[in-house]
């Protein structure tokens, strides 16, 4: 404005890293998070001997518009995203969920007091996707 007041202009960014964070790398994006779970918290330590705790991890965050390249999402996810944005906002946006897992070895005690070592599949999330 003529009075020298500046309005409706974005805050100047002098730091390149800030620029990247704000425009190229949005906050709260879909990614893996740690959560160390102790079996004693669930009272499962009565039959699970080992491990005493483990990190199953979980996926949390917002799914961006561009999901194919970064998250390996199927084409259907892109289509659903477009429907949400352009046509019908009641159609849910893609969710941030695990895409790949790792196994976990467990040592536990059966009711007859025999001891068993077993490898369970899909116990630890290793990668997130938007779907």
């Amino acid at each position: 404005e003529a009075g020298g007041k500046v309005e409706n202009t974005p805050s100047p960014i002098y730091d390149l890293s800030q620029y990247y964070r704000q425009y190229l790398f949005p906050q709260n994006e879909c990614e893996l998070h740690n959560f160390w779970l102790r079996f004693s918290q669930l009272k499962w330590n009565r039959w699970i001997i080992a491990p005493r705790k483990y990190n199953p991890r979980y996926c949390k965050g917002e799914c961006p518009r561009v999901v194919r390249h970064r998250y390996g999402s199927p084409v259907h996810t892109v289509v659903q995203n477009i429907i949400y944005e352009k046509l019908d906002s009641s159609v849910p946006r893609p969710s941030c969920i695990p895409a790949e897992y790792r196994p976990l070895s467990v040592l536990k005690m059966e009711p007859d007091r025999s001891i068993v070592y077993k490898e369970y599949d899909n116990m630890i999330a290793t990668k997130c996707t938007c779907r």
């Binding site: 196994p103 040592l107 070592y117 490898e119």
Partner: protein
């Protein structure tokens, strides 16, 4: 219950206070002299018929043995990382290992043996929790010493295994017998001895039997140099290496096979954002990618 023996080597089974107050019925069978076996004492711990579940559990269902627990914990450390991830192994064709302690025991003590030590034990193993989807890969009788071997041993033993139950598939031969002769060499400091009985138990477990009654008979040659350490006096556990084919179990061999066939899928190509972010943290410029 704990077992003790007197200095002469005969066995006694002291009862705990609980068992003494409510002692389960025992069977004392005396063999006829005509059979040539002399006097044998057969002690068989029977399960009480009344509904004292805790007592039944204590007697019939052995508490987790500390030695067995120690063995399985050691096995766990061998097979898994500190984070609990199964270690990759090309020879790892099983994803389940079960250690079963005897459900009941029947000891046969023979006296007046001129050569070696003869010791026969009837063992009953409960396999209720072995599912039909768990296929046997290997089975082992596991003997553990209550203390590490103080001196290296090299002895020759003959182990006879006999299944006591009637096998429906074989009307002619109701019992299955298996003899194993081996030279036992126990190194200094060892705590366990494993005897492979896979071929012996394979048909039984494959048929889905929920309990196995085995008579184990040991004969070891003894000389002046051999200490009085007698493995036959120890009660073995049954170790089963199984391949669980259910969906919840991890099939490492399929995982390794798939990884070899399609390596590109598992080499996660870092995205531009991740790589650039990493460079930012390190104070580097974002990389330029060639067309």
């Amino acid at each position: 219950t704990s077992r003790s023996r007197d200095e002469r080597g005969s066995w006694q089974l002291p009862l705990s206070e609980v068992e003494a107050s409510q002692s389960p019925p025992t069977l004392l069978a005396h063999q006829d002299a005509e059979n040539g076996y002399g006097l044998q004492l057969s002690l068989f711990k029977e399960l009480p018929s009344h509904s004292h579940q805790k007592l039944r559990d204590r007697i019939s269902r052995p508490q987790p043995d500390s030695t067995a627990l120690r063995y399985m914990k050691r096995l766990y450390r061998m097979f898994a990382t500190k984070g609990g991830i199964p270690k990759p192994s090309k020879s790892h064709l099983y994803n389940t290992v079960r250690l079963v302690t005897p459900h009941a025991e029947c000891e046969h003590l023979s006296k007046n043996q001129e050569r070696g030590d003869l010791h026969s034990v009837d063992l009953l193993f409960n396999l209720d929790y072995v599912t039909t989807l768990e296929h046997l890969f290997k089975s082992v009788l596991l003997y553990s010493f209550d203390r590490p071997v103080s001196k290296s041993l090299a002895i020759t033993c003959t182990c006879n295994l006999l299944i006591r139950e009637h096998v429906a598939s074989s009307q002619v031969c109701p019992n299955i017998s298996h003899a194993v002769t081996f030279n036992l060499h126990v190194e200094l400091g060892r705590k366990w001895v494993e005897i492979d009985v896979t071929t012996f138990l394979q048909p039984l477990i494959a048929s889905g039997k929920k309990s196995i009654h085995i008579a184990v008979n040991f004969t070891c040659l003894k000389n002046d140099e051999t200490p009085s350490y007698n493995m036959a006096r120890l009660s073995p556990s049954l170790l089963l290496f199984l391949n669980d084919t259910s969906q919840q179990a991890h099939h490492q061999w399929n995982f390794l096979k798939h990884k070899r066939m399609k390596p590109a899928l598992f080499k996660q190509k870092k995205s531009l954002n991740e790589e650039a972010r990493k460079n930012l943290k390190q104070g580097k410029r974002a990389p330029r990618h060639r067309r």
